[in-house]
Symmetry: C3
Amino acid sequence: MSQLPKLTFVLGGASSGKSAFAEALVLATGAARVYVATSQVYDDEMAAKVRDHRAARGDGWLTIEEPMDMAKALSQVGTNQVVLLDCASMWLTNHMMAESDLRAATEAFMAALDTCAGRVVVVSNEVGMGIVPDNALARRFRIAQGKLNQRLAEKADLAVFVVAGLPQVLKGQLP
Amino acid sequence: MSQLPKLTFVLGGASSGKSAFAEALVLATGAARVYVATSQVYDDEMAAKVRDHRAARGDGWLTIEEPMDMAKALSQVGTNQVVLLDCASMWLTNHMMAESDLRAATEAFMAALDTCAGRVVVVSNEVGMGIVPDNALARRFRIAQGKLNQRLAEKADLAVFVVAGLPQVLKGQLP
Amino acid sequence: MSQLPKLTFVLGGASSGKSAFAEALVLATGAARVYVATSQVYDDEMAAKVRDHRAARGDGWLTIEEPMDMAKALSQVGTNQVVLLDCASMWLTNHMMAESDLRAATEAFMAALDTCAGRVVVVSNEVGMGIVPDNALARRFRIAQGKLNQRLAEKADLAVFVVAGLPQVLKGQLP
């Protein structure tokens, strides 16, 4: 049994093993676990990805499906529960597609992390280390994701960058 | 008040917080500060970015606008000044658009760093960790940027990789 | 003379200096060295890259050209030899273009690493830290490369992430 701090931030590239690493952190606490699923299934590729992640995660999770409203999702969590929120990139995508006010949505997300009764592990994607994309929406997403990652990393007690499945601690200490 | 070595290299992805981190390093020295602005404003997106960076940076900077000739920019710097050169990626973009001899331009840049009287912090982008771009110019830029980053990191006394706003020291020690 | 463990994994972005770093690791052992060349030359860009890498590597390497079958390549290696396999990304590209069964090819690759008599240094690309590509094949490659990198990192005794030519140890210890 290991302890996790109030907020853990797990960042990584595509297929970097960040979700598996975050799940292992949650499992090692031995606490009751909650999965906040942010994915909206738009196509077969996404459906396959959701299926793979669910299989990898295994049983024993209470799942809350909530693509956008983290205040609503996290208010359902009790003191003894540990939450895996996977992932902030999907949450951001959903808000950008809905043309939400990103500033307001981000503040609400941050406030929900502050007031959540349980401990939370947030997973997110690093998307800013490639070439500038041709597509204007992709450029906006890349900047918004970078800013969101900075907010989450700043708020987190423990921040981990997962590279090829291996954790690099950016802040705090692994339990 | 903290000391900086002769050359500090700050690398990061898009919206990684690298500029803010580099600015904080310069501010913490308490020395007179110079900003070498390399951006050429081609469009509204760039204008907005320059505006945001200027606002974030605040007052108290002597600004030298110089998109390409770092020998000219850095020869104006005095012994007691600390320079923020933001950024090497824009400098490289400007030279590629001008179809400069990149090898000669790079050697002149490196020599200017050697002979600058003040201490210098150079900011640059990591752009090589995404998929190979379709576009031949983007592929050329990605390779040239990678080689330039290697040169800067090799020459630097302190090299920092900023991920989600958090510094990872690649070389040397943070002041 | 320095020792290398059975398997070393060197990961990095494009033009990150990962090949030069891996070569230096191999050279420092003082052992007889073998280069497993995985590149298939499709165009002039690739031809130039192969030429540059060969020139940088210098003499004194026994070269095995083998784009796909690592069991065949690595079975030719003796106990006192150190292998530089550059790179896993090209190997993956070759298999994807040949529409191989990636699962079977990966298992054969992993088994060949286990049974190789010599020590091996595998170089690979990080390609998952940019924006999601538009192109479906690029998305498939990005996921397959991420999974392959996780496998190699897990199996390796020493795993290094090269950023701007500077090594960050992910696992194990530099010799």
